[in-house]
Symmetry: C2
């Protein structure tokens, strides 16, 4: 299935299809130098598959994990491009999860002031979350995504067959983003999680999630207010994540963060049922004061509110100002 993302000055396709990496050259122009960037957790067969279809294939493999989304990892990719004399007509192909896509995308966005970037996300999270949006970045000085660019790929190949080899927990982690997408803008998608066989409807789930994101990003390419609705579940989720960094995945924290920001009681019950069905624990057990402190820490001195995303029922989303006392109350109730 093909989805076309239309931006102000360009458009590109997202292919959602099992086995698409195996014939990527039908979708992407590989008749040039191709640098495949992956990490050592990505099955080598995907990398070899792309290389075998490229006119001149090269490969750089970084260490698995967030540690590679660094200035050092960036240098590694730049060196590979420069040492192999890549020109502005050549391309970078990311094969891997969000770390690989972000790192390879940032290198592609700045090498010779920008060369072609093709993204092959191989995790549920990256297929849903990083395929659309054009945000690429590395971490710097312990700060996530602080250095980066808005840079659109030439195309995205979401090969859903790659998800079959993912560890279950990793696989579910990404699906939380799809649940989120359903809640903010697509009740039908949310209902798939309530009623249908998830494995069998995986392509539909991913495609519908991408459609939600596509509609938002097309209207708001450079991230101002509208795009903020994608942060549903992140206000409290990020605070929880910062306390459980090495223990819980991002999606597991966002799952926890969505419930307190869902207003309609019936919808909360439905959401909890979906999360349970996915095997997700949605309880928050941290000290409310600590969570509150984290959420208000980066705010400007003198400010006494935050802007958060609330969902009433699936598809009914809004941005709301929440005063500090209200926020404090929400957190306390979430922990009960």
């Amino acid at each position: 299935m093909r989805l076309t993302v239309n931006l102000v000055d360009r458009k590109y396709d997202v292919i959602v299809e099992a086995g698409s990496i195996g014939h990527i050259k039908e979708y992407a122009d590989l008749r040039r130098k191709v640098m495949v960037v992956s990490d050592d957790g990505v099955p080598a067969e995907y990398v070899h598959s792309v290389l075998s279809q490229a006119e001149k294939g090269f490969s750089v493999v970084v260490a698995k994990g967030e540690i590679s989304k660094s200035l050092h990892g960036y240098e590694t990719v730049l060196h590979a491009l420069l040492n192999n004399k890549f020109t502005r007509h050549d391309c970078v192909v990311a094969v891997g999860g969000g770390v690989v896509g972000d790192l390879a995308g940032f290198a592609a966005s700045t090498y010779m002031r920008g060369i072609s970037f093709i993204n092959c996300p191989t995790t549920t999270l990256s297929q849903i979350d990083s395929s659309i949006g054009g945000k690429v970045a590395i971490n710097f000085d312990n700060t996530k995504n602080i250095v980066g660019a808005f840079y659109q790929p030439e195309c995205v190949i979401a090969d859903t067959a790659t998800l079959k080899t993912l560890p279950r927990r990793h696989y579910i982690n990404g699906l939380v983003e799809a649940v989120k997408a359903g809640l903010i803008a697509d009740e039908k998608l949310f209902e798939v999680f309530e009623k249908n066989d998830i494995e069998r409807n995986l392509e539909e789930i991913i495609l519908r999630s991408l459609n939600v994101k596509k509609n938002i990003v097309e209207q708001d390419e450079k991230e101002s207010s509208l795009r903020a609705v994608l942060n549903f579940g992140h206000t409290i989720g990020h605070a929880v994540e910062s306390l459980h960094m090495d223990e819980w995945y991002h999606g597991e924290c966002v799952a926890r963060g969505m419930i307190p920001m869902t207003e309609d009681k019936d919808t909360v019950i439905r959401l909890k049922a979906v999360l349970s069905r996915l095997g997700l624990d949605y309880r928050i057990t941290d000290d409310p004061q600590r969570l509150f402190d984290i959420m208000t820490h980066d705010k400007k001195a003198g400010s006494d509110f935050i802007t958060a995303v609330k969902v009433r029922k699936p598809g009914q989303v809004r941005l709301v100002r929440i005063s500090y006392p209200q926020l404090r109350k929400i957190v306390e109730e979430a922990v009960k």
Copy 2:
């Protein structure tokens, strides 16, 4: 004098005015955090002048020279921004020559995926050459400008009073770009160099040069063919430069490179007179074979021509394919 550059999705002003740094806040919004980036060759009074007008001023000073246009210099600026908690609403102000503008601009283009960038070029070369075009970059692995971005400044403040403190040779170096602009697109500008007092007409010279570049860049923002005419004098000039890196300035090499690419004999005589008036030596004394080898070194295997820019008379410019034997002949005649 104010020049407005109109690009596809935004526009910005270039102010050309003696003393403009002294009241920069009238042109640029400094009611936020302002990081002034300069090098230790830039008179401190310019930096202090900007800082004194900023609501919250910070400053980072790198070492003078090309060495700072590096990944290390980039890290230095990023650290300064991050340590001082700059947000996406704050700004970077470059005060210095091309190195400072390129480095600060690249940091601004990638910090938080892009924050405001205000450029105050303080050399003739940077006022003429880097004020318009939106090309920012650093060097990497001994390769010039290999990592960078197309990133437009919020505004450019070209304070012509800063040029008075430049060493004469440095000052003349930049004027070669103005001579080049006159030759490719503005005969009146070329005539200023032939007939008028250069010091007294400095603002006009810079403004006219910027206008030439503006017209080209507005039509061709991302550097395809049209913009290539700005490379007039660079084919042979770059080859000469690579043999005299530590000895001659860029403009001194471009001056040498323009003559062999000027077709009309009368115009060659006029050009030589202008270069002499500026005190520039335009003779090439290198081995023609070495120059030829350098010019053809980076070309694709199997290609047997280069694309170069030729000027017939001032304002009459064209891109031409030059076969290797023709190129060889041009170089030999240039060295005679």
